[in-house]
Amino acid sequence: MSRLGNFALIIGLLLGFAAGLFYSWTINPVEYIDSSPDSLREDFKSDYLTLIASAYVATGDADRARARLAWVQITDPASTLGRMAQSRLAAGRPEAEARALAQLAAMLGERPSPLIATPTPHGAATTTPLPPSPTFTPTVTPSPTLPPTATASAPFSLTAKGDICDPALQETQIQILVLNAAEHGVAGVEALVVWDTGQSTFFTGLKPELGPGFADFTMQEGVTYSLQLIQGDGLETGISAKTCTDGDGEPYAGSWLFTYQQSAAP
């Protein structure tokens, strides 16, 4: 009788445990209505990151953008945002989104430089609430140092053009480097490439590891291109693959680098 009783107790425990799990996992599971951005579905997370970039471009508040990015918990945000900008541009999303992502990526990808880390013109601290945190305590943060940006109304001019004969470069490219008057790379500058049968635009800053002012476009062999910065004052025509020769004297297609700089504000 005692053994039968113990057996019944064990069976009861197992049945009850199974029923409890079924109820708590399937019928009435814990509902997370207070989730954080890192738990968002991938597509919503992309939209969230784009929103962070748009807000950053609107406010120039780098500290806040960094805090917001921290909640999303992505690895290597600069590269991720750069890739996202390219993919969203390819998917036909608004160019403003790609430009914003590029600017944010460029800001994150910048290495600290004593030349850039100068005091802000308005050095007074401002009271800025941190973006939401578990307690959302307002704190005092210094005014952010904005990433290099173009001076409104001052166009970019071509200052240098050079060929790139690098056998390691697997594609034939038009590369551009866009600098502001202080010779800092400028992200989010749009370039237009036109050829006989089409045209395309690309932006600086989508590859933050190469600097905020860098952008490239892959050329096709035998096609001649024209290049113009949307905010530039000149048009470069007749661009095609440069013929280079390797160490064995074998020819291969080389690339071009165009450097633009903004004139100093009067």
């Binding site: 009783g5 425990l13 009850g16 799990l21 929103l51 471009v57 578990p134």
Partner: protein, 116 residues
């Protein structure tokens, strides 16, 4: 204690343990949530980001589209919730003005005509 009593007692204790395990120790994890499930402070910051972008681009349709991710309520409601949250939690004046500008512009949109 009889066999039936032991069985019922076991079921009762087992259920308690099952609930404890399923709700507290290892609850269901949702890893693919939508913005509407965001916690109130994150949701308010989401609205603030929309408002910050709106101040520059002035694209009210785009702002409404972004706010629609937060749920089925009218977009204006989310902005009002965010303002309330901001007032209670010490948002600075600029943030509150930014939210207010979006709220005012959303309020200026005439309501959709009722059908029927």
């Amino acid at each position: 204690m009889g066999t039936t009593s032991r069985l019922l007692f076991g079921i009762f204790i087992g259920m308690l343990l099952g609930l404890l395990f399923g709700w507290l120790i290892r609850p269901v994890e949702y890893i693919d949530t939508a913005p509407e499930a965001l916690r109130e402070d994150f949701r308010s910051d989401y609205v603030l980001m929309v408002a910050e972008a709106y101040v520059v681009d002035r694209d009210l349709e785009l702002a409404r589209y972004k706010l629609a991710s937060l749920g089925s309520h009218p977009p204006l409601n989310y902005v009002i919730y965010a303002i309330d949250f901001g007032v209670e939690n010490g948002f600075n004046t600029i943030d509150l003005q930014t939210l207010n500008l979006l709220a005012v512009d959303l309020r200026s949109i005439p309501p959709a005509p009722e059908i029927g």
